[in-house]
Amino acid sequence: MGMRKVAVIGAGMTKFVRRALETPKELSWEAAKMALDSCELTMDDVDGVCFGTAPDAFDGVHMNGEYCSDGAGAWNKPFMRSFVGGGTGVFVPIQGWYHVASGLFDVVLVVAEEKMSSYYPHAQAAFLTIFDHTTERPLKPNLLWIFALEMNRYMTTYGIPKEDIARVSVQHKRNAANHPCALLGEPNITVEDVLNSEVLAWPVQRFDVSPVSDGAVALVLAAEHVAKRLTDKPVWIEGVGWHLDTAYWTNRDLAYPRYVEYAARMAYEMAGIKEPRKEIHIAEPYDPFDYKVLHHLEGLQLAERGKAVELYLSGAAAPDGDLPICPSGGLLGVGNPIAAAGLMKVAELFWQLRGEAGARQVPGQPKRGLAQAWGDLMQVGTVVVMGR
């Protein structure tokens, strides 16, 4: 197709914490500066900025993108903020990709920031306003209930026991123990710990869920001719995909995320991937809840329907397995500052594919990785495939 190649050449990330003292602008700049420093660039080298943050309700700031713009580096520069709910974190690098692939930009800074702690006492209440104002909000739904419905549906459809699903949480929290930015790394956590944690909305228990967090992540994207000049180890964006399903989530098959499948197929087609299970070496599927990983692995065609949990039971999903899943520790372990958490997954692929992931580095020099996020009313899938 003669498409312009786009590389990731730098990445930076703040610690993910429960209550950051920094303002959203400061968090954004901290990550942006780290990403720029990592590839020895300054803001003068950046042509434009793409920014992601989830609902304005968290910060109580209207046009939150405009408010954060200078913190994200957009001072007298083209700036755009995209949003697809929880899928935003993996969408912002897609937005950066099309900025560069369009030929209008050579170097783009991609920043995702989330500060959920501003919403007091708990960000969960902000989610009431994501529901339909007429048909759903009067019921005062809580996000946990909705996911409890979906988790129950998934378990029931395929007959998967809770103790198997808990393996996901255990694996990710253990992986996160090696991540210097992680909020909930637990090297010794066990399945019993998960099963004995507080019940929030059956079958969802506290350790099935990722924590509310604050944090920011940034990437530097560059066109091929710039990337080759600046680094010996560019990581190419080989495929991108995103799909948004109907807003009427109550009509949806809750056992299978078709929107994730469509997004994945779009990315695979662009990347020329025919057999994802063989051609993807490392995966960072979205894991705000442990069952969601299984759901998403099936949508991504990395496991057959109802069979994703076997990757965990067989050890294939472990960092030294044949398909390491969320070696970063994922949202369950590193934390879930929504938009930033998605971009953290893409940053993790960047570090893993360059062999720079430190104690988390998976063996076998992976060549190709996939990151995916999901969000809105169980509605959107965003997928990025990267390779070296």
Partner: protein, 383 residues
Amino acid sequence: MNKEVAIVGVGWSGFRPSTSEVSYKELMYEAAVRAYADAGVDPRRDIESFVTVAEDFIEGTSIFDEYVPDQLGAALKSVQTITGDGLHGLATGYMLIRTGMFDLVAIEGHSKASNIQTLDSIVGYAQDPVLNRPLRLNTHFVAGLEMQRYLYDSGATIEHCAAVVVKNRRNALKNPLASYPANLTPEDVMHGPPLAWPLGRLETATPVDGSVVMVLASGKKAAELTDKPIWILGTGWCNGPASLESREWGTLPYVGKAAQMAYRQAGIGDPWNEVDFAEIDDTYAYRELQSLEALGMCSFGEAGELLMQGVFDANGEFPVNVSGGSLGVGHLLEGTGLHRALEAVLQLRGEAGAHQIEGAQIGLAQSWRGVPTTSAAVAIFGN
């Protein structure tokens, strides 16, 4: 890569102060159906990607993008929302097609302002929560300050600003989409109710309801679909300093940067002579003068005098806001940039009816995201 991108279909609905008979979804649906019919495409079969512009607080829904796909025919398709002006959305569609991955993209922008009871106080939440919001000032005070500084620096006068209102609302008399056409005198404007001195209420655009949808196509696809494509020749956008304390108040350097980006793509070196007409920001009357100067149409402090000479009139040398602008048509909130782009498309197709500019070949649209932002976008179109 697709180098060429054209607008092959436009549709709109609303353009009235209140549309109580329809929901925002129905408003969007009406505009979308018209745009798809205009382009001769089926959204389910043909359109590959969709872009909406919206802001959560204005919609009254968090992560509003959830509620976009169904009424656009976009469910289970590639859809994204940009928190920007309609022209940011248009630029997004332009980029998507240029990548070579898409041939047909739909862009939507809308306003259901009549659902909002307290627009000014919602916009007040855009002020810096630490430094500015505790002052509890009405959001228009930023515009009042900016107008005062502009008048002081440029030598433009209150009469010049009033003349912008008179011109735009008179232009609106010939535009059936306009909600606020009027024959006013400069005295009517200057003696109207004050808003944030020296800014008057009549110098401020009033929100209206409406939706605009556009179908964008690659050059190859456009040739299959239409014999009068309107080409997007360039797009540009820019943010200046976000905080009130660190910005330039008399001039609009971010509008200038956005314009330079668009001119560079369009190969325009002398906008005054190469562009035939412009639909630009007149959210507040003084902004039209400030924007003309930032766009490089004249030098700083010159726009007011040129306006008084009739240069920017509908039949003048360089028609500006011949549609009536936001002062005459009403302000479509995030959808405003697409209203300006719609006017440019209709003019370049020769379909503008009573307010048609004869022989127009190149048009420019420019938007600003309103107080307290320094976010602007520009697009240039040709037939």
